[in-house]
């Protein structure tokens, strides 16, 4: 069987994915491929189904039809190779936990129920915090952090999972410039080392600078491929319609 040859370079692939909320379609038969060792953006207007696509692929919300393959296999077989970074606003930051507690959550999968968290795990978690420049805040309650710092904690937790594929839902939403730079630099480093990153992204002006590949989405797939080929005015106009003029005047 040569089935996997076709998937050789694909870290993440969705096929014919359709999702609806009740009878309101959110995604209509979307096909998309995200190559290994590259950094990809999912862009599209509000309500285009960007987050929905990631969530459906990860089995967080049910899909009507279609499926998702990771490294050519179904999710359950390769779950430990994937780290998902949810939207920052999806959790209650008043939760009784410190920064390092949240990073340690990235290790829960690999710890048995009777293993206690010791010095080794703590050192490892601090190493992950070092990558996002948050070591000095390791014992801070998470509610006291700024938005950018909270996002960096989430990124550190994903690092702790030691995954090959990072799926990030709006990692740059509402973060400061320094955080955005830290995260981009870090993701680029991971990708250089052979990792793969796929991020839902809303800022069209940074797509070219940050990403290698792009998926332009508006309920259906508009374009998918290297930024140079796919991220064109024609495709953006198709996705955003007249709204692009308000959204990104400098691009037109």
């Amino acid at each position: 069987m040569n089935v996997h040859v076709a998937d050789g370079g694909a870290a993440f692939k969705v096929r014919g994915l359709s999702v609806a909320y009740g009878d309101k379609p959110a995604l209509s038969s979307v096909d998309a491929v995200f190559q290994q060792g590259r950094m990809s953006a999912i862009v599209g207007p509000n309500g285009a189904g960007k987050s929905t696509m990631l969530k459906a692929a990860m089995g967080i919300i049910p899909s009507i039809s279609g499926d998702a393959l990771f490294f050519g296999r179904p999710l359950d077989e390769v779950r430990s190779r994937i780290a998902y970074v949810p939207q920052r606003a999806s959790v209650d930051w008043d939760f009784p936990a410190t920064v390092i507690d949240v990073v340690l959550m990235g290790l829960y999968r690999s710890l048995g129920p009777f293993t206690l968290i010791g010095r080794r795990q703590r050192e490892f978690a601090l190493g992950c915090l070092e990558e996002v420049d948050m070591v000095s805040l390791a014992d801070r309650q998470i509610g006291q952090l700024s938005g950018g710092q909270q996002q960096r904690v989430f990124i550190a937790r994903a690092l702790a999972q030691k995954a090959d594929l990072l799926l990030l839902d709006e990692p740059f939403a509402g973060v400061d410039a320094a955080t955005e730079k830290t995260i981009v630099t870090l993701l680029k480093k991971l990708v250089r080392e052979g990792g793969t990153a796929v991020a839902v992204h809303h800022d069209l002006s940074t797509v070219t600078a940050y990403f290698d590949d792009v998926l332009i989405l508006n309920v259906r797939r508009i374009a998918n491929g290297p930024v140079k080929k796919a991220f064109t005015e024609a495709h953006l106009a198709e996705a955003y319609g007249g709204r692009l003029v308000q959204a990104e005047p400098e691009l037109i």
Partner: protein, 408 residues
């Protein structure tokens, strides 16, 4: 009114066998309730336990009727508790179904299930009491609980429950915490949310059903809600919160039963709940992490530091100070005299303050992201906040390439 000797005896387990049994039972129940209740609170499902406890009543009634019907004593406790558990499960399924399949909010669904099940239960109890079968005396104690005539077996049951809860909570502490904090992430790391929620509901039901006997179904929910809420004031860590909450619950059970043993006609269940409520109020006021008093104290201490610094900088610039609070702070530290002129100590402190302000300005130029934290830190002596080498580096930059401090 309170019999002090009896109270001391109860607290030292020397008030007789029966009282000791009840105390041990209440301690274990309180501990189990506080532990499980922590996850319930963090999952933001505290009120579900209220629906669950009220939904036990029809089950108690039906189980009693069935057992009396088949000629036994209707008061066979395991039978009654089994009935309670079954009808609680039906009530819980009702709440879940209503919130998922209709557009009802969960609080509306809880209210609907709670009141209709409780209504049915009260009707059944009234019928039972009018029938005069199966030795129904005492069946009403399920409403408000009763510790009189608690048997050694029942204390064993509570001990087994506590161990069981402890074991399950320990084994599943990570999935439970993860589901409470970040459901999306939990799901992507392969945790079955539904099964984890079911486990939590099962633990809640175990506590509720065993708690019926002591505190009664109306108040058992207090043992699941009050201890974790009190514990939240003391800590910012989930694991610590679980331990503190268990301790609050256990202390409530212990002190509550001791009080009820030493005051005539003091019902144990409600007294246990009242003790928990007192512990809650004390935590709310006194706890260092989030307590009201400590928060006020910190706010006051901070505003005092702001006034002190502002006043010292005014002294240095030779400006008059008009703010009454600033004058009060400076006077209380003998930095200015009654007529507003600075003392020797005041002048020294002003120079130190000016130097530290200048160093902090450089620090912020180097670390623009630290603005928020620095706003707090810069009011403390700089040596408390930065390392000696950091300060030395700031001083080097402050002095400039010539190595001479700029004139002030």
């Amino acid at each position: 009114m309170i019999d002090i000797a009896a109270f001391i005896n109860a607290l030292t387990f020397s008030a007789g066998y029966n009282t000791a049994i009840v105390a041990v039972g209440a301690i274990l129940l309180g501990w189990a309730g506080g532990t499980v209740g922590t996850y319930l609170l963090l999952r933001q499902r505290s009120l579900v336990s209220d629906a669950l406890s009220h939904a036990t009543l029809p089950g108690v009634g039906i189980a009693f009727l069935l057992m009396a019907w088949f000629g036994g004593s209707g008061r066979f406790l395991p039978g009654l508790l089994l009935g309670a558990a079954i009808s609680a499960m039906i009530g819980l399924a009702g709440v879940e179904w209503l919130t998922r399949r209709t557009r009802l909010n969960s609080d509306a669904a809880i209210g609907a299930v709670l009141s209709s099940f409780f209504g049915l239960g009260v009707v059944l109890l009234t019928i039972i009491q009018s029938l005069g079968i199966g030795r129904q005396a005492g069946i009403g104690s399920f409403l408000l609980g009763s510790t009189s005539g608690m048997l050694r077996n029942e204390a064993y049951t509570l001990a087994a429950l506590a161990l069981f809860v402890a074991f399950l909570v320990f084994v599943f502490r990570r999935p439970l915490t993860l589901v409470c904090f970040d459901e999306t992430f939990a799901r992507t790391s392969g945790i079955d949310i539904r099964r984890t929620d079911l486990l939590l509901m099962f633990l809640v039901m175990a506590v509720t059903v065993t708690g019926l006997r002591i505190v009664g179904l109306i108040l058992v929910v207090a043992l699941l809600i009050i201890p974790p809420v009190a514990a939240r004031f003391w800590t910012e860590k989930t694991n610590t919160m679980i331990v503190v909450s268990g301790l609050v619950g256990a202390a409530s059970g212990f002190i509550g039963t001791a009080l009820s043993a030493s005051v005539p006609n003091f019902p144990a269940g409600p007294v246990i709940v009242l003790v928990a409520a007192v512990l809650f109020v004390l935590s709310l006021l006194l706890a260092p992490a989030r307590g009201v008093f400590y928060g006020l104290y910190r706010a006051r201490a901070f505003s005092r530091k702001v006034h002190r610094r502002q006043g010292l900088l005014a002294i240095l610039r030779g400006e008059a100070i008009y703010d009454k609070d600033t004058i009060r702070v400076l006077k209380s530290e003998k930095l200015i005299r009654g007529d507003g002129t600075p003392t020797r100590a005041g002048l020294d402190a002003a120079e130190t303050a000016a130097r530290e302000e200048a160093l902090w300005t450089i620090y912020l130029r180097n670390n623009p992201d630290a603005a928020y934290r620095a706003a707090r830190m810069r009011l403390d002596p700089i040596a408390d906040r930065l390392t000696a080498s950091e300060i030395a580096e700031l001083e080097r930059q402050f002095a400039g390439p010539s190595g001479v401090l700029p004139a002030q």
